[in-house]
Every structure is written in structure tokens, then in C-alpha cells.
Amino acid sequence: MRELAIPGRPSEEELGERVDALAGDPESRRELRDLLREEHPIYEGRGAAAVVRMRGWILLALGRIGLEDADLPFVLEELDAGTDAYLVAAAARALRAYPRPGPVLAPFVMRALANIRYRDEPVCFGGYGEYAVGGGDTTPVLELLAALAWLGPHARESLPELESLRAERGGTFRKRAAELERALTAIRGDANERAPAPSVDACCVLPGSLGYGSRWGSRSRRGEPIGALRLEDQAGEWATFGELFRGHPSIVAFFYTRCDNPLKCSLTVSKLGRVQKLLESRGVDELIHTAAITYDPAFDLAERMRGYGQNRGLRMDAAHRVLRAPEGMGALSRHFALGVNFVGSLVNRHRIEIFVLDREGRVAAAFERIHWDEREVVARAVEVLEESEPSPATPPKPGSQLLASLAALGIAFFPKCPICWAAYLGAFGIAGLSQVPYSPWLLPLLAAAMVASLAAMWFRGRATRRMGGFYLAALGAVAIAVSRIGPAWQEVALWGAASTLAGSLWSAVSVGKAGLRNGRGSPWRARLSSP
């Protein structure tokens, strides 16, 4: 049996050598960082264990050349939600190469300690892909304790927690008592302490480059045109992306049911359930929709998604769904710029990611890598809700509705022959002759105006998902066109004009209601301000 070879893709060992070469040249830092993107082709078609070896080696290389702000999210992500001993140890070591230790980093290290203490396995950093056999160079807990010592007084907030770990009678921290003591001493500082105590301002401010909570203005929002992409929900109902995500803001999280990291997908979906409750408490749960979309649509069938959502307290109805896109994962991936990669159809690595979409289904905000705060996500979605509505869903100006009706009436009553003229003269009398609008060019102009209004009604109907008005107006237009065949059909024009008028009115009323539902009216605004 031969090794599966993908043309143009380096072997793991070649990649290790390449990373070593890049680590020798600080100019190549960007390329090194680029290799950490989950969607990078080097991870395609590799098992999760290989991905761990590769990413761990890259993190160590970044640590060797010194960490920059832009590298930090990749390191903090592992400390925040990593469960693999090798990756957590590598991240803890890389963190110590960051030039600006600060109090904001300490909670990440403490969280990693809590996550990894029951998997404190020996790891080996001697060469690419080496495993600790018999004994290792270090362990994740040792690396994390060293990171705390490196943080020194910046980690003062963690002292009580560390003291309680020291007080444990057995377990990992009893075994690592010497290293824990060293960390405690460094944090407490001594009489000749060099490092400054954390200032209030320095606390709790993540470096701006973290990429957490990115947002885009309405003009620069990203997103591919995927309105026609079909998705199936947890009940087996199919709908297009446009139908699901246009006309209202949405909060969209990604997951897959076979994810074996409890701090990623399972937690994300549980937190989405809490987001739904927050939306309910603010009275906007019908105005802001939520969705959890699976990365693994081939395996996550409707029933599986439903069970997964139910077990994590997710509300599932018309406004809040769990979705799969069996034939559009690529398009979806491009639209959201997802951080995910696959071995076959199965996910081998993904980041934590949740998005806020605007009324057009474009990405207005993204919370990536680091665990997101439910309140922050809801607040951002509410901001998007409060934005002025984009053109397709904007309630029509009275003028445009009037134009449609007038054009239809104009065509219907436009005089076509001498007999018509005679009839109009009879009706208006000779005195009113000058009031009868007759110009040969007027007919095509009115027809064009009617087609334009029909088109506007169609767009409006698509945006509000209420097409009744358009159909009625279109029927009227057809009737008016038929009436032009000859005098025998002239009566049809009256029905046509009436139908067009009714269709225009219906369309206007529908859009008005949609506008109210989407927040143009005032009833919900008062509720938004309440917590």
C-alpha cells in the first residue's frame, strides 16, 4: 500500500524543513503566520494528528523568532480552547516570546491550565513530529507555569486560583510543586521587583490586532452572491440562503456534530442557545434570526442536527434554525471566509467562529478564534438591526407606487383610433378637447414606465418575500396589453387597470408591514433599550 500523495503538496517532513527555514529568517514571519490559517491548503486531506504536529511546529517556530500582535490570536486560541497537549505546550512556549506581557494574557494561561491539567502528557520539541517515548522534554502544565512566571506581577489576579491549586493534596500540581512555587514567587514579585504592577488601564484590553470582534461598515461588507444556495434545516425543510438570511439581521455560528473538542462546537451551539434567550429578553427574537450551520453536511443529516440542537438547549423554529448545505459548502466557505479544513468530507481542523449578517445576508461582524461573549454578539446584531434598511427592502416612496398605477391607467385609456377620439369628445365636450392628452410618443413612454414599476415591484416582493402584489399587477399589465389587440378587447383594459392599481396597493402595504417587522416602525425600538 502506498502513501496517499496529493500533487504539489509537501510531505509532513518537507513542511517541517520549510518551517525551520522560515524561522531562520524574520522577514518570513508573514508566511509563517499564513501557514497557521486553518483554510491553508497544507492542511487539506491530512488527519487531525498530522494537523496538530504541523501547527505545533509552526507555533514553536514563531516563538523562536519572537511573537508579534498579529501572531497572538493563533497562540491565545490554543490556550483558550485547546485540548491537545502538544499544541497547548507549544502555544505556552510561543507566548513567552511575546515582547509585551500584560495582565490580559493571564486569564488565557489560567484557562489553559484548567483545560489541560488532566492531559498533562510529556511532549517533545526536539524535532518535527517527535513524540515523547518513555519521557519527554516538557509538558503543557510545565510550559504554562513557566508562562505564568514570565508574566510575573501581570498575573497577580490569578494568585488566589494558583494558591488553591497549591493547596491541593495530590494531582498534577502536587507533582509540579517546585514549578508552581517558582511561578507564585515571580507573580508576587520581591523587594527588588522590576516588573511594574498592572495598571487599571492595561488590564483587560486585548491588542487591537487580535481579530476578535471584527466589524465592517455597510459599504465594505464582505460576502459572495450566494442567495440561490439551498440549505436544509433540522426539520428537513429546504430554503435558499436569500430566503433565510435576507430582510433581517442574523447571527450565524458554525459547528459539526462529530467535533471532539467540547470547548468548540458543543460549547458554541450551547452559547447560541443563550444568545437566543438574550434576544428573547430584549424582544428582538423575531427580528434577529439565528442559525447554526454545519461544516459536515454530508454526515449531519436533519435528524442528527435536530438532536444535537435539542441536547444543547437550542430553540428551533422558522426564525432560528440548524442548517446544512450539502451542495454548497465551498460557496458558503467563501462567503464567510471560514477557517476550516477537511480530510475527505470530514473536518480536520476549524476555528471558533460566529458571524452577524446584515439584512442583505452580508457579513457585518465576525467573532473568531477566541471564545465570544454572548452579550457582545447580541449587542452587535442589535446595532445592525438599527442600521437604516438597504434599498431592496426600503418601503417604496409613494411616488413610485403612484407611477405604476398612473402608467397602467394611461395605457388603458390612451386613445387608439378616430372612434376613440369621437368617444372622448362626446365625454368631455369640445371644450375639453385641449385636456385630452394625445401625443404619439406617450404610449411607448407609458409602457416603459409600467414595465419599470413592475420590475421595482418584483424586486420589492423578493426582498420582502411577498410576491402577491407583483403577480396581481403583472396580471393587470397583461390584460392591458391584450386590450390593445383591437376594439373588441377594449373592456379588458378597465379590468387590467383595476388589477394593476390593486397590485400596487397590495405591494405597498406588504412592504410597509415588512418594514415595521424589520424595525422601521417604533414598537420594538423601546424594547431594545431595555436590558
Partner: protein, 319 residues
């Protein structure tokens, strides 16, 4: 010591050796009780400590040590020294293999207590990796099994390497596939597909099919296996179960085809009937007259299993 006393002690030793040969469990228990009496306060801990002392003592017989190992887990993580003694026994190729296997079992039992074992886990995993390439095949296989359950990258790499290069294989291919199937992310699908195409033995093919049951892209292959009358019946049943997990609607279609085929094997018919009875679309099956008639005939003329499954089907869909 007086000569009488010496003689008495020799006599006891001779008796205990004889007793150990006759009943090693009883002898081990006696040895453990004797040692326990000398040390410790709490009876359970005291017994465990004493058992560990016997289990790791090269002066005791292999049978005594094996018997003592069963009582040692509680003491393994009491002190780092205890753990190291047990790991030494496990790693030492000069120790009798029975004792090493018993040490492994004792360590495994200790690891169930996650909190107590927390501090021992790292050394334990590192020792397991060391023993994963041991010359003894049984020990190797058990250790690889434990590591595979931990989704250990080292073990997965060794197992995959063995599938690609049989001369480096640490366990037979069917075992390697079974162990790799503990982690769906282990990248074993490509290897499993190759084995399905060119199986080294029927057991390996069966394990490869079981592993691929988690691969969503393998549904068409399972359809083919299910409909192939030349395929082993066990493999066809695995294919049916896999299709139910991956593409349930396809299994419904194929199960119907199988039931309508008069030349099909009874085991496969029984499997198909069960699939339709348990997971079938009620409204569609209630209206499916040709299928209901066919199942009615199977109820009268099929084997015991088929008759039973047919009865269940008819009870559910025929009012």
C-alpha cells in the same frame, strides 16, 4: 536466631512455596496479608500497598505477582515511587510476560480513577508509547489499543505506517483498522478504501468496511456492497448498517429491492425487513401493496428469522 527458629522459618518458606505452586492466588493473598499487617493504617490502602509490594517484587513467583497485581491499583498513584515501580515492570522485557500484562491491567484499572490518576497520566502514556513496539505481540496489541482509545497521535502514526508498509506492522491489518476506527479524525479512510479494494484477508475487509461506516462519502460503495450477492453476508450487513447511518433514504430503497428479489439470502432479507420496520416511511410503506404481498409470502415460507421479521413488519404497516 536460634536453630529451632531457623528450622521453623525454613519450614514455613518451604510450605509457602509448595502452597504457591498449588494455589498461587491463596499464596499471594497470604503474602499480601503478611505485608499489609506490617504497614499502613487504612485496611484497603494497606492491602493495596502490600499487594503492590508483592506485585513488583522479583523475588516472588510470577503467579503470586499476577494475583497481587489485581489488588494493587489503589496504591499505584499514592506515590510517584509506586508508579515508577509498576512502570518499570511494564517496560522490563526480562520480566515474565504474564506479570507485565498483569501490570498493564493494574495500571489501566488505576487510570479509571481520573482525578487520582491525574499526576500519573503523563508518565503512563509515555511508558505505553515505549512498550508499543515491544517484541511481545499480545502486550504490543493491548498497549496500542489503550493508546488508540486516547486518540494518541504516536499510536495512530505507527498503525497507519503498518498498513502502508506491512513489514513495519505492529499488529495485523484488521486490528490496526479496528484501533484506528476509535478516532474518526485519524485519516484512515484512504487506507481502509485500499483494503476494501485489495483485502489481505476477509477480516481486514470487514474491519475496513466498519471503519468506512463513518465516512460520509462512502455511501455509494456501501450500496454496491449491499446489493452484491457475491459478497460475504456479514459484509453486506455491515453495509446495511452503514447506509442507515449515512444515507437512510438509500437503505430504504435498497431494502425494498432486496425484499422483492426472490433469489436473495434470508439473512439479508431479515436485515432489510428490520431496517424497513424500524426506520421506514410509514405512509409510503402502508401503500406499498407489492411489498406487503411479498412480505406476506415471506412470513409463510421464510426461515425463522425472516418469518419473525416479516411478522413485525406486517404488524406495523398492515392495519
Amino acid at each position: 536466631m536460634t536453630s529451632k527458629r531457623k528450622a521453623a522459618k525454613k519450614g514455613t518458606k518451604r510450605t509457602s512455596k509448595k502452597a504457591a505452586k498449588k494455589s498461587p492466588k491463596k499464596a499471594a493473598k497470604k503474602a499480601v496479608t503478611r505485608t499489609a499487617a506490617k504497614s499502613g493504617k487504612r485496611p484497603q490502602r494497606r492491602t493495596a500497598r502490600a499487594a503492590l509490594a508483592v506485585a513488583t517484587s522479583p523475588r516472588k513467583s510470577a503467579a503470586q505477582r499476577v494475583a497481587a497485581m489485581a489488588e494493587a491499583p489503589l496504591a499505584v498513584c499514592e506515590a510517584d515511587e509506586n508508579l515508577q515501580k509498576m512502570l518499570d515492570v511494564l517496560r522490563n522485557a526480562d520480566e515474565p510476560i504474564k506479570v507485565r500484562l498483569a501490570a498493564l491491567q493494574s495500571l489501566q484499572a488505576a487510570s479509571f480513577s481520573v482525578i487520582a490518576f491525574e499526576a500519573c497520566r503523563g508518565d503512563y502514556i509515555a511508558a505505553l508509547r515505549q512498550v508499543a513496539t515491544d517484541p511481545d505481540p499480545e502486550l504490543r496489541q493491548r498497549v496500542l489499543g489503550l493508546l488508540a482509545r486516547e486518540k494518541d497521535g504516536f499510536a495512530q502514526r505507527k498503525l497507519l505506517e503498518g498498513l502502508r508498509k506491512p513489514e513495519k506492522a505492529l499488529v495485523p491489518p484488521e486490528k490496526a483498522l479496528q484501533l484506528l476506527s476509535y478516532d474518526i479524525h485519524a485519516d484512515a479512510y484512504a487506507a481502509a478504501r485500499e483494503i476494501v479494494g485489495e483485502p489481505p484477508n476477509p477480516a481486514a475487509k470487514q474491519e475496513a468496511l466498519r471503519l468506512l461506516a463513518a465516512d460520509a462519502t462512502a455511501a455509494p460503495m456501501f450500496e454496491k456492497v449491499l446489493l452484491d450477492k457475491g459478497e460475504l453476508r456479514e459484509n453486506r450487513q455491515i453495509a446495511a448498517a452503514a447506509l442507515q447511518a449515512l444515507r437512510p433514504e438509500k437503505l430504504q430503497e435498497r431494502a425494498r429491492e432486496i425484499l422483492l428479489d426472490a433469489g436473495e439470502y434470508p439473512e439479508i432479507q431479515a436485515t432489510s425487513l428490520t431496517a424497513l420496520t424500524q426506520f421506514g416511511d410509514e405512509s409510503a410503506l402502508e401503500q406499498d401493496q407489492p411489498l406487503i404481498e411479498r412480505v406476506g409470502r415471506l412470513k409463510g415460507e421464510g426461515g425463522t428469522k425472516v418469518k419473525q421479521s416479516a411478522r413485525q413488519f406486517l404488524n406495523r404497516y398492515v392495519r
